[in-house]
């Protein structure tokens, strides 16, 4: 029995990718279908990093094809990931060496933005993506400590700076430029925004799929500069379930809406507290706040993370949870959230509707 390429395509149209919730054909993942008599070979190119589930996807597709194409002979399915660069807004220069920029923000301080940002970056890297972290918190840089990086970055040409690296991530922070942990940046707004601009554009990012920008809290200078001058693909909002944090998270979300940056979704941090003595799980900051906010603004709830002493200890010691305990329950949750973000970003990357309109000047 022999098949045509269309038979294979039609069979794959009934198989839904559990990550994108779309079938592989309309998700444009199926490439290079080759049919030779009853033998079939094809490539699956995912738009998001997913190294840990490549094998699962391969066997799922093989099982599906064997079931739907009776008498199929040799079957070879090759699964890989390729992250596409996002649509560029006209006028905003694309950052060299960076395909996608994901901003991690919150309205309130202290909700765990930096911890979430670094763990999500590490989770994306664990799935096989090339990832960088830009610490945009000029007044209170945390990434050097959380990534366990010390020392100063080098410059090869005296104009640009090489990113620092650890745990497979490229990183840049104002924290690398200053001496001592207690040196404050006593700067007014314009200095801060210029520093951000330099950290972003003068770092020699090396072929990144994702640059995760860890933003300071609030809706001020840094956030506005990011919106106006930086080609952000989308923003992730971090909040706790507490009313007082949600109130500010809503403002953060509205700000991104105002300046035309798409919201990837909301991560609820400190969803529950797990007692380290008895293991009892309790909603100490209230329950369901993040989901409710997602419902109110029709954005995706990306996931919730517990208030667990290990997350704090591991981040403080420079070995965030995703690398300290990669197979643990919390790391799995971070990876799940990271995959949801990557899938969403892949969708956004292909959506050119938000690109800047064409400007034409006519002598009429």
């Amino acid at each position: 029995m022999s098949f045509s390429e269309t038979d294979v395509q039609n069979a794959l149209k009934n198989l839904i990718d559990p990550n994108t919730k779309k079938d592989y054909v309309s998700g444009k993942s199926v490439k290079n279908i080759k049919v030779n008599g009853s033998d079939v070979s094809l490539d699956i190119m995912l738009g998001y990093p997913a190294r840990s589930v490549w094998d699962d996807i391969r066997s799922m597709i093989e099982t599906h094809l064997k079931a739907s194409l009776k008498g199929i002979g040799k079957l070879s399915v090759n699964v890989s990931s390729k992250v596409v660069p996002h649509a560029v807004q006209r006028g905003v220069k694309l950052v060299e060496g960076v395909k996608n920029i994901i901003a991690v923000a919150s309205g309130k301080g202290g909700v765990g933005k930096s911890t979430t940002a670094v763990n999500l970056a590490l989770a994306l890297a664990a799935e096989g993506a090339r990832v960088g972290v830009l610490d945009a918190d000029i007044y209170g840089p945390s990434q050097p400590t959380m990534l366990g990086i010390s020392g100063q970055p080098k410059s090869v040409d005296g104009k640009s700076i090489e990113p620092m690296t650890n745990h497979g991530l490229q990183a840049m922070s104002i924290g690398f430029m200053i001496d001592g942990e207690d040196t404050p940046m006593v700067w007014r707004g314009p200095m801060v925004t210029q520093a951000l601009d330099q950290l972003l554009h003068q770092t020699r990012w090396d072929n990144l799929d994702y640059l995760v920008v860890d933003l300071p809290p609030g809706t001020g200078d840094i956030q506005l500069t990011l919106a106006q001058k930086v080609p952000v693909t989308g923003a992730v909002i971090v909040t706790t379930p507490q009313d007082i944090a949600l109130m500010d998270a809503r403002k953060g979300l509205k700000m991104f809406e105002k300046v035309g940056i798409k919201i990837v979704g909301i991560v609820e941090n400190m969803s529950t507290h797990i007692c380290s003595k008895c293991g009892h799980e309790e909603h100490i900051f209230g329950a369901g706040g993040g989901e409710k906010m997602c419902g109110d603004y029709k954005v995706e709830f990306l996931g919730g993370l517990p208030l667990d002493i290990r997350i704090r200890e591991q981040a403080d010691s420079g070995n965030p949870t995703v690398v300290a305990d990669p197979e643990g329950k919390i790391a799995k949750e971070y990876k799940q959230i990271a995959r949801r973000i990557a899938v969403k970003v892949a969708d956004m990357a292909q959506d050119h509707s938000a690109a800047f309109p064409k400007i034409v000047v006519q002598n009429t």
């Binding site: 807004q89 006209r90 006028g91 905003v92 919106a227 106006q228 001058k229 809406e257 105002k258 300046v259 035309g260 940056i261 509707s353 938000a354 690109a355 800047f356 309109p357 064409k358 400007i359 034409v360 000047v361 006519q362 002598n363 009429t364």
Partner: protein, 117 residues
């Protein structure tokens, strides 16, 4: 998100900014109209009632449009005014209410005894 523009055309001779939105609506906004309704704090103030009446802008030209993020343009007029960031939402509102706003401007001009020239 609200309506997104797909094209902005500057007609430099007739001094008209033509903007097309993705819902198919197209507005032709005279430069003078845009200039006297600049959203800049220098023109609009910091709230209702703080507007500063702009006069003598009949022949104002546009030197340049500068994209701001993906949500607005900064219009640089040839009289030096360049602090207004016109968001898509604001431009849509100007287009929708063009005749009423223009009449309102003319009324305020004559009430102040000022002229467009």
């Amino acid at each position: 998100m609200s309506e997104q523009p797909t094209e902005i055309k500057l007609h430099q001779q007739s001094r008209l900014l033509e903007i097309t939105f993705d819902d198919g609506v197209c507005f032709q906004l005279p430069y003078e109209f845009l200039r006297v309704y600049s959203p800049s704090a220098e023109v609009s103030g910091h709230g209702p009632g703080q507007e500063v009446l702009q006069t003598g802008k009949k022949d104002v030209g546009i030197k340049e449009l500068i994209p701001i993020g993906s949500y607005a343009v900064q219009i640089n007029f040839d009289d030096g005014h360049d602090t207004g960031l016109y968001t898509w939402e604001y431009l849509y509102k100007l287009g929708k209410n063009q005749s009423r706003l223009w009449q309102d401007y003319l009324d305020r001009l004559s009430a102040a005894g000022a002229v467009r020239e």
